[in-house]
């Protein structure tokens, strides 16, 4: 049991961040929302559909209205940037090729990479790959986009670009964005609302400015990046003296 | 890789593969030999077929003129019946005889046809009347010993 009772809601046009230290159940939450995992108990509604009683076809139907950005983009390495973005269109629609082309170029233009259409993912930098992946996740104009650690392993410039892009796409396309991250500084700049998860429960929530000023020990430690706090630096262990055999002396 | 390039290469690949299969079937195997040409079948009964197998060649004067298509046992006459499939282009007289021979040292057995002298030719479903079965080594030795002892007995009688 990783998650023990999360009450979370998101509105259209909002960027919601879910934060917490590694292994707190953030990824599990994403898997639940996307239907990759089924909750053992409880209610889970995404876009008005009850996910608990949904079969495989239902999950797939739901996912067409859902975009997801994976940690490192997860672009298809055997396809060009263009084919990557065209993939969901070709799989799910019967649009004629020139229309697919127009739509793909439109999405690529939105992330500023129309010029990179004929490159392969191996020729892209980490930030560019993630922008392409973002263009791919919005290809079918979903209502909700999930981001799994969109800021991991990026240089400061790319970080800013991605953050900016998430905000801008959410506003212009009128989507709901759900960002799972532990990058506090970057995400606090762009999100509307933050949930903090620790050990499977929501420990704090609020707007970014509220959380910056928060006095809750866990949030304070997390936001300011302190080594000691409720999350201990030491892994639970017997006393150091006893382990070194000095207890007997 | 361009889609047309892939198409081209796959086309070459499949064509080469089919060509290889055809090569194996036509040039290496015996397809297109007698199976393709029109044939007729005749039957020959033998007391003993020895090691003759289906698909063994049927030769006349050393030339392959057909194949053994089937071997079965006639439970009324207690004989082996071999069905010979012969090429339509070779016609044999009705009194042609069949005998089972062995070729080479390795002992592949085949059926040799000796043409007779009659005017009418063999037709589909006919049976060959004169046949000579396979020579079985044990019988041969037995015969030899038997005739030897007969000779000796005759010699003794003569004394």
């Amino acid at each position: 049991m990783v998650l023990k009772g999360i009450n979370l809601s998101a509105r259209q046009g909002q960027v919601i961040a879910i934060m917490g230290s590694s292994g707190c159940g953030k990824t599990t939450l994403l898997k639940l929302i996307s239907g990759a995992l089924k909750p053992t108990q409880g209610v889970l509604r995404v876009a008005g559909e009850d996910l608990v009683g949904l079969d495989q076809a239902g999950v797939y139907r739901l996912r067409r209205r859902l975009g997801m950005l994976f940690q490192f983009g997860a672009l298809f390495t055997d396809m060009t940037v263009f084919d990557n973005v065209a993939f969901p269109l070709r799989e799910h629609t019967d649009l004629p090729p020139d229309m697919v082309r127009d739509m793909v170029l439109l999405k690529l233009e939105a992330v500023g990479l129309r010029g990179a259409a004929e490159l392969y993912p191996s020729e892209l930098s980490g930030g560019m790959a993630r922008r392409v992946a973002l263009a791919r996740s919005v290809a079918l104009d979903p209502g909700l986009i999930l981001y799994d650690e969109p800021f991991a392993g990026l240089d400061p410039i790319a970080l800013g670009v991605i953050g900016d892009l998430i905000r801008r796409l959410t506003d212009t396309l009128g989507l709901t964005s759900l960002v799972v991250t532990h990058d506090v500084q970057e995400s606090l700049k762009i999100v509307d609302y933050v949930y903090f998860i620790s050990e499977g429960v929501i420990v704090a929530e609020g707007r970014p400015d509220e959380l910056r000023a928060s006095e809750i020990p866990y949030v304070h430690q997390f936001v300011h990046g302190e080594a000691e706090g409720p999350v201990s630096y030491h892994y639970p262990a017997p006393s150091y003296q006893a382990d070194l055999g000095m207890g007997h002396v | 890789m361009e889609r047309t390039t892939i198409d081209l290469w796959v086309g070459i690949f499949v064509a080469a593969g089919i060509a290889a299969l055809l090569f194996l079937a036509m040039k290496v195997g015996n397809f297109g030999g007698f199976q393709a040409a029109s044939t007729y079948s005749v039957q020959a009964s033998f007391d003993n077929i020895g090691g003759l197998k289906a698909r063994a060649p049927v030769k006349s004067a050393g030339v392959v003129v057909g194949r053994v298509s089937e071997i079965r046992f006639d439970n009324e006459r207690f004989q082996a019946v071999a069905v010979l499939t012969l090429d339509q282009s070779f016609a044999f007289p009705k009194d042609t005889s069949a005998s089972i021979m062995t070729s080479g040292l390795l002992g592949e057995q085949y059926i040799a046809l000796d043409a007779g002298a009659e005017e009418t030719m063999l037709a589909e479903g006919d049976a060959l009347k004169i046949t000579q079965g396979a020579v079985v080594l044990e019988n041969l030795i037995g015969q030899f010993l038997y005739s030897k002892s007969e000779e000796e007995a005759a010699a003794l009688d003569g004394q």
Partner: protein
């Protein structure tokens, strides 16, 4: 002492259970692949692409190996047959060993190490870099979109490759036997044609290569799909593909040979 025995038995038991369990999962995976082949056949372009990457890219190794195996057969066969004074049977020896055994088996072994390992590595990497998960998130079934086309592409390629291997081998045997050593060309071909039967030998060889193709491909696909999503996991899975499918080829070959050439 008693402890050691129990431990050994327990290890044996857990290995057996594990192996059986994996075989069960692999069988289920095979069934799923067949079940989800509809997409692949509706979009032949997907299969064509896989024929390219498994078949066309294995062409060089198959053709060159076939040629050399045939040349060695010609040389060795001649040495042996010569002592019995039946050099003319060289054609039979080369053709029968290639068409019945070496063609399907060696081509499948090469196929396992060339195309099989590539399939495992590709699928394993797609899994490790979350490409399969991304596909599933886009409501596209990876088994239908990735696995099934690869399966059919490889299964179509395999018999063609085996036939090319045999044909090249016979050509190699011809080169050494007839052109180089000087065995009579007429008897080389005619004896071969008299002894090789299309149904009994050529067809059975093709059936063998189809069976091997299915076995190698499903092992390669399953190992890739089942690989732990790490660099180490993928590399281990690739090794396992080559080892498992080689053993499977040889074992299946024995079984098939026993069934096919029982009466001959």
């Amino acid at each position: 002492m008693f402890d050691a025995i129990t431990r050994t038995l327990r290890r044996l038991g857990s290995r057996t259970v594990n192996t059986l369990w994996r075989m069960g999962v692999a069988t289920r995976f095979f069934g799923l692949t067949l079940l989800h082949s509809g997409t692949a056949f509706r979009r032949p372009q997907l299969i064509l692409k896989e024929i390219f990457s498994t078949g066309v890219l294995s062409l060089i190794i198959i053709v060159v190996s076939g040629l050399f195996v045939g040349m060695v057969l010609g040389l060795q066969g001649y040495q042996t047959l010569q002592t019995y004074g039946s050099e003319e049977a060289l054609g039979i020896l080369v053709a029968l060993s290639l068409v019945r055994e070496l063609g399907p088996v060696v081509a499948a072994l090469l196929f396992a190490s060339r195309a099989g390992s590539a399939i495992t590595a590709e699928i394993g990497l797609m899994k490790a870099t979350e490409q399969l998960a991304a596909m599933e998130m886009m409501a596209v079934d990876p088994v239908a979109r990735v696995v099934a086309p690869k399966f059919w592409g490889a299964v179509i390629s395999m018999p063609l490759l085996a036939a090319m291997f045999s044909a090249m081998g016979i050509f190699g045997g011809y080169l050494v036997g007839v052109v180089l050593i000087g065995v009579d060309e007429g008897s080389f071909w005619s004896q071969m044609q008299a002894a090789v039967d299309v149904r009994e030998d050529v067809m059975n060889g093709v059936i063998k290569s189809v069976v091997f193709g299915v076995a190698v491909t499903i092992i390669a696909l399953f190992e890739g799909y089942d690989a732990p999503p790490t660099a180490e996991g993928v590399s281990r899975a690739t090794t396992r593909t080559v080892v498992t499918s080689s053993l499977a080829i040889l074992a299946l070959d024995f079984v098939l040979t026993a069934i096919m050439f029982r009466g001959v």
